[in-house]
């Protein structure tokens, strides 16, 4: 099963490598991992998307908690939560395609954030599946490059991850 895990960790040099090292050393799978400092500069927040049986996910949670730099861990998939991912797509936009790409971008509530004679760069935010659908909806040959942040997640309402 797919799980999305959020964690807070001390903003120490090498903290990220402790987490990624743990996943590779124990053979856990990482679909995506995002990390950035929080409003408290001494803490970073990480979102990890992984897959595994219930037993594996239980071990992942325990092993993450065991890392000395990790302050707290929450498996967002245990309850209501929101997930968002940002994607930038650069497409070949010439002739009739220009109009069509703009239209598709609008349908997906995207924004064209860079324009050149021959290209558009479109910014899209949403659940990963929405970003996938957008890529399927447009002509594959027109895609020049894509970059995705991986999922960020947060609990709904009073589900709060803090120290």
């Amino acid at each position: 099963m797919r799980h999305i895990i959020s964690l807070l960790m001390a903003n120490e040099a090498g903290a990220l490598s402790r987490v990624s090292g743990l996943f590779s050393a124990r053979g856990y799978n990482i679909e995506s991992l995002t990390v950035a400092p929080t409003e408290d500069a001494t803490l970073s927040r990480m979102t990890i998307v992984t897959r595994g049986s219930d037993e594996v996910i239980e071990q992942i949670n325990k092993q993450l908690n065991k890392l000395v730099d990790v302050v707290s861990v929450m498996d967002l998939s245990d309850g209501d939560h929101i997930e968002r991912e940002l994607m930038l797509v650069k497409v070949r936009a010439e002739g009739a395609d220009r109009e069509e790409l703009k239209r598709m971008s609008d349908i997906f509530r995207g924004q064209v954030i860079d324009v050149s004679d021959k290209t558009y760069t479109i910014e899209l935010t949403g659940a990963g599946s929405k970003l996938d659908s957008f890529l399927q909806a447009i002509d594959r040959k027109l895609i020049l490059e894509t970059v995705r942040t991986g999922a960020s997640g947060i609990g709904r309402g009073e589900r709060i991850l803090k120290i």
Binding site: M9, S17, E55, E58, K66, V68, D69
Partner: protein, 568 residues
């Protein structure tokens, strides 16, 4: 007053009451060695290889309740130390390793003797630190000691760049330490403790399986009291030996791959299993599916939540320190009106005794060939079961575990989790320094001893009267045994040709060597060796080269699918 990083390092060690540092100097730690030189409180033991420094610190820690300390230089110093660090990590041994690093301004430039010590050791330490600023040094060392010994213990590495050891700052050793992300749980949940007590009282076939956590928690007293209270058979893992007195009638011996028949059958057939500070290792329960094929309730007490339900699903998880939780459990049991089910237990003990009568550790002694089991039994007799025994890795290790009956904790010092050949002799150095005047013997093989034989020189320099008991079978015996059982007797590279003359070798290092070739000489030789209280004696026992370790549960098999000695 302002002190340099090197002075601060030594002051911190003094503040922590460190008696010995095991180490080896080099460029990156010269300032620290200079400060060591200027004081007498912290004594330095110069080893002959950094791996040995770490094993010695490890042996020191295992035989006491203290943190072992090792000091190595950057680059090859720290890479040599890695095997020792991993050994301590696998067995959860509290240890501080201080490594020198190239100056901060050189880091990342492939400088002379630069390695990423924090990166290399990350997967085999509890935690590690690179100290980039001298003002963080004292607090980092304080944290390192605290992390090493609290919760589930483990090695902690502190990497100190050379310039940091020479920079000055006002010194103050913090009296307390607070790491906001680290709060190991030591006391058990009261409700779960009650639940466990009830389960144990209702058990018809209870069993206690106790491991290294009992030793690390110094909780053999509580374990012994509990086992008697619930009238259960008790088994120890290789790491737990001595945690429950081997001479007690409720003890059924070690379990696992080379465990006794009664311990393994008890484990397989009990209805309530209490696991205490043990981690259901693959060498202990064998095939997990086979183990799970019989229903039983499991109560698991461990300070590390990640040890619980890692390999085997648990019914009652008790997270906490063995000593503290067992004390609570004993209280609840004593205050309960219910008593263990005497009638059911009677049948259970009858069954255990039946398994016991298989006598799975019996062996046929010989008048021509020295049987390794006989050497260990005689060693037990001569030392009155009261020696500190360290071991290397292989058949000799298993025989020592099976035939030296440990009645006290912290007497059996061996590498279980990593299985590091070369551990025995340096570990014995640490033990002997921690316990001057006590009897320390290192049981080894002719293969293992050669992995750190250079330490005979350290033993000479520091007058360590260790007794080296080499069970010399001219084979990498444990490998040979697997080849005999599972690889059609093809002894690929397991024969030890061109062995040194160990007697002369011992003499060359300034020690005493004794060659023993006949069974009738075994006892006399041991007596002579132990009578030489102030000398290191190397006993080269030429043992039966074809002897195997029994019983054996082959890898991947279930606990009841055991191979017993052929002639039984």
């Amino acid at each position: 007053m302002e002190l340099t990083g090197a002075e601060i390092t030594i002051r911190c060690l003094q503040e922590e009451g460190v008696e010995y540092v095991f180490g080896y100097p080099g460029g990156a730690v010269l300032f620290i060695y200079d400060e060591l030189f200027k004081q007498e409180k912290v004594k330095h033991v110069l080893v002959r290889h950094e791996q040995a420094a770490v094993h010695a610190a490890d042996g020191y820690a295992r035989s006491t309740e203290k943190v072992g300390v090792a000091l190595v230089t950057s680059g090859p110093g720290v890479t040599n130390a890695v095997t020792g660090i991993a050994t301590a990590y696998m067995d959860s041994i509290p240890m501080l390793v201080i490594s020198g690093q190239v100056p901060t301004s050189f880091i990342g430039e492939d400088a002379f003797q630069e390695v990423d010590a924090v990166g290399i050791t990350r997967p085999c330490v509890k935690h590690n630190f690179l100290v980039k600023d001298v003002k963080d040094l004292a607090s980092t060392l304080k944290k390192a000691f605290y992390l090493a010994k609290s919760g589930r213990p483990g090695p902690v590495l502190v990497d100190i760049p050379k310039d940091v050891s020479n920079h000055k700052v006002e010194f103050e050793y913090p009296s307390t330490v607070n790491i906001r992300s680290y709060h190991p749980q030591t006391t058990g949940d009261a409700n779960l403790v009650k639940q466990a007590a009830q389960m144990l009282l209702e058990a018809k076939r209870p069993m206690v399986y106790a491991g290294g956590g009992v030793i690390l928690s110094d909780a053999s007293k509580q374990l012994t009291e509990l086992v008697r209270l619930i009238d259960a058979p008790c088994t120890n893992t290789l790491m737990g030996l001595g945690g429950y007195p081997a001479s007690d009638k409720q003890f059924v011996g070690m379990l696992g791959m080379h465990g006794t028949y009664e311990a393994n059958m008890g484990m397989q057939n009990c209805d309530v299993l209490l696991a205490v500070g043990a981690r259901f290792d693959d060498r202990v329960i064998g095939n997990v599916a086979h183990f799970n094929s019989v229903p039983r309730k499991i109560i698991h007490l461990d300070i590390d939540p990640a040890s619980i339900s890692k390999r085997v699903k648990v019914d009652v998880p008790l997270v906490g320190d063995v000593g503290s939780v067992l004390t609570d459990l004993i209280k609840v049991l004593k205050s309960s009106k219910q008593k263990p089910d005497a009638a059911a237990h009677k049948d259970w003990w009858k069954q255990i005794d039946e398994w016991r009568s298989a006598n799975s550790l019996s062996y046929k002694n010989s008048i021509e060939l020295i049987k390794p089991q006989f050497v260990i039994e005689t060693l037990h007799k001569i030392t009155r079961g009261d020696a500190f025994i360290t071991s290397d890795v292989g058949q000799h290790q298993m025989w020592a575990a099976q035939y030296y009956k440990f009645d006290k904790p912290r007497r059996w010092i061996n590498s279980g989790g990593l299985g590091t050949m070369g551990f025995g002799l340096p570990a014995a150095m640490g033990v002997q320094l921690a316990h001057p005047g006590e009897t320390v013997a290192c049981v080894t093989g002719e293969g293992s001893i050669q992995m750190n034989i250079q330490e005979l020189s350290t033993c000479k320099q520091f007058n360590l009267p260790i007794k080296v008991i080499a069970l010399n079978n001219r084979y990498l015996g444990m490998v040979r045994q697997w080849q005999e059982f599972f690889h059609g007797n093809r002894y690929s590279q397991s024969y030890m040709d061109a062995l040194p003359d160990f007697v002369k070798l011992a003499e060359a290092y300034g020690h005493v060597g004794i060659l023993v070739e006949k069974p009738s000489d075994v006892e006399g030789a041991l007596q002579e060796a132990f009578a030489r209280k102030d000398e290191l004696v190397f006993l080269d026992f030429r043992t039966d080269s074809t002897e195997n370790v029994y019983p054996m549960v082959p890898g991947g098999k279930g606990l009841s699918e055991v191979i017993l000695a052929e002639d039984l």
